[in-house]
Symmetry: C2
Subunit: 366 residues, 2 copies
């Protein structure tokens, strides 16, 4: 993608539970936003997830996967449902299949305190939390998915795999991201690998490869930190960190922990990025307890969509996409700064209300 | 151990850095405490750790290990030092060898907000945090310690092992602990297994075995929670949890995170318990940055010693040991409730000063 493009083909996978609700709210905001920037979003609705599995026997059939792969980007709500499982008892999670099959190694999970949204920590510096957990999303412990074994009902084994190739790509991605955040957001240009190199061969290897890559990015500071110490620092001084690449399982843990710091999963967007493909989705699940009530917080979904627009722009589709992304993020921030409060933070604004206020901030009436 | 005993043989392993300082302070408090309860503590000083490795070529020689194993309990300061490493680059950590070689499967890591000690979370309920992370300490991902492999500088593998035998023992331990905490501390009798059973074979197996064991403990509530959701709930509603058994690596992460909530590692005691052997040590490390200055907070060490006394009592040495444990814990609580503040929470009370105040609360002058 070298020439700028004004229209994009987006595979839309609302999924299950509140996934469908936040997707609808998000599309309602994206349409006028795109128009305003002279851009076109051509959405193709695709069915996948737990309900699809129950109804068709397939969580994401091959035709659907093929359509998703052919799109310029994939925008996903949430997938999974309690009680609907694969025969081996594991969760229906086609989002994991997308990560593995499309090689989406870079799980970008921003943790940012939004103006006006209450944070969990007492220290006033917590209002300045602005980090990205960069979760490797195709290997690590998750390489064992579907491959673990139980021997004679006596012992189970799952093997964590860390490769040089993926660690190199993830590390370059981390340094590039930190550089961009320094330029665009005034962050300090710090990449901190989170590992457990003091005990495990795989993590010692990961750290070695990371520092080899760091040598190619002398303008960005490279550091490393043990996962246990990092878990502690997430609640002691999270404002001191910037970009945190880490292994898949560690990243899953740290990103949910981080979401807890800034108001909960309703405020945690994510992107899973590979070479040429990417999925954008809120970090939250399908929330069966509140599904269908119109009260789900669509903020994480809106911020994920902003990440999508930005990614399209940085890949060469043109600066207008990045501008639209920045405007969407600013519109979300402004909504909360002005007092918008969703039920998950003790307020009353439902899914449609958030969409309406955010759309209003970009000059559109829903 | 069926008859009550008034004297115990304690292997004392101060280790490195602040380990030696907090151990000294702890022994100073334990001596008068034991006398007051008509008990005897016979300490045998043993050398192990990073400095021992540097000076002798062995982090813990066989004679030392044998002496430790022969003792009634092992009281350990902290071990390890930056720059002193095994040839493969991993940390000098004989405490891990003790866990593995003595089969200390139950890593008991209480996370309790002490009266007067500032907590990290803004919610006032955080003052009521009182949970135990029960970290399995002999297998899980740590089964790969020293066994992981790097293939042609291209890919590294570490295998997580979860056995039925250890999961059963850990689960029984968890239910017994919750029952005792309900009786002695008025806690609610809740055991929550923390796993990732939705993705991994090993964790699905662990959950299955856990619920089999739960059926033998109908008086205690059994639940399970995903590690990512648990990391979130550690910062959203940690006061709702009681006993949390989990895999080794997950337990390492959650216990440090928990320590961050209640004032830091200086307030996090631990015990590694097996069938017949046990090691008691603060969860913190050797803190090279403050070692030798007399400012290390010995609270975690004192609370670990209280756990040791209690364990000796519950194993049949007699109620007097449990009473001494309860008095030590109460003396620590009273010290902070009365305004004692260590440097790690913004105060000035050094190691010896804490020991002096706590000893004063049990009627002794240091
Ligand atoms: C649904 C689950 C398998 C998934 C994961 O662990 O990757 C989710 O927790 C996430 O973080 O995207
Ligand atoms: C020193 C280190 C290897 C050790 C561990 O990870 O077990 C420590 O973090 C702990 O929690 O006791």
């Amino acid at each position: 993608m070298a020439v700028s493009r004004n229209a994009m083909h987006i595979a839309l996978m609302p999924g299950d539970g509140i996934g469908t609700e936040v997707t609808e709210a998000c599309v309602a905001v994206l349409q006028p936003l795109a128009r305003r920037h002279g851009l076109g979003l051509d959405f193709e609705m695709l069915r996948a997830g737990a309900i699809a599995y129950r109804d068709t026997g397939s969580a994401m059939d091959e035709a659907t996967f093929g359509r998703a792969r052919a799109a310029d980007a994939i925008l996903l709500g949430a997938m999974g449902w309690p009680g609907i499982r694969y025969p081996d008892g594991t969760e229906i999670a086609p989002q994991l299949d997308l990560r593995f099959r499309l090689g989406l190694y870079a799980g970008v999970r921003p943790i940012r305190a939004l103006p006006g949204v209450p944070v969990a920590l007492a220290d006033p510096r917590a209002a300045g939390i602005d980090m990205v957990i960069l979760r490797e999303s195709t290997e690590g412990l998750f390489a064992a998915r579907g491959k673990g074994e139980v021997i004679e009902d006596r012992e189970a084994r799952d093997t964590m795999v860390i490769t040089r190739a993926t660690t190199e790509r993830l590390s370059h991605f981390a340094f590039d991201l930190a550089r961009r955040r320094a330029a665009k957001r005034g962050r300090r240009g710090l990449v901190t690998l989170v590992d457990k190199a003091n005990v495990f061969t795989g993590f010692a290897f990961m750290r070695k490869v990371f520092h080899e890559v760091a040598a190619h990015h002398p303008d960005v500071t490279a550091a490393h930190h043990y996962i246990d110490a990092m878990a502690l620092d997430m609640v002691r001084r999270p404002w001191d960190f910037d970009v945190l690449p880490t292994e898949n399982m560690f990243g899953d843990i740290l990103s949910d922990l981080g979401a807890g710091l800034i108001g909960g999963m309703g405020f945690a967007p994510s992107a899973d990025i590979g070479d040429g493909h990417a999925v954008f989705q809120p970090s939250h699940g399908t929330a069966p307890d509140i599904a269908g009530k119109g009260v789900a917080n669509p903020t994480a979904m809106l911020l994920s969509a902003a990440m999508m627009l930005d990614w399209l722009g940085t890949r060469g589709a043109g600066e207008a996409w990045c501008e639209a992304a920045a405007e969407l993020e600013a519109a979300v921030d402004a909504a909360f700064a002005a007092g918008l409060r969703t039920p998950d933070i003790g307020g009353r604004a439902g899914t449609a209300e958030v969409a309406r206020v955010v759309a209003g901030n970009i000059g559109a009436r829903l």
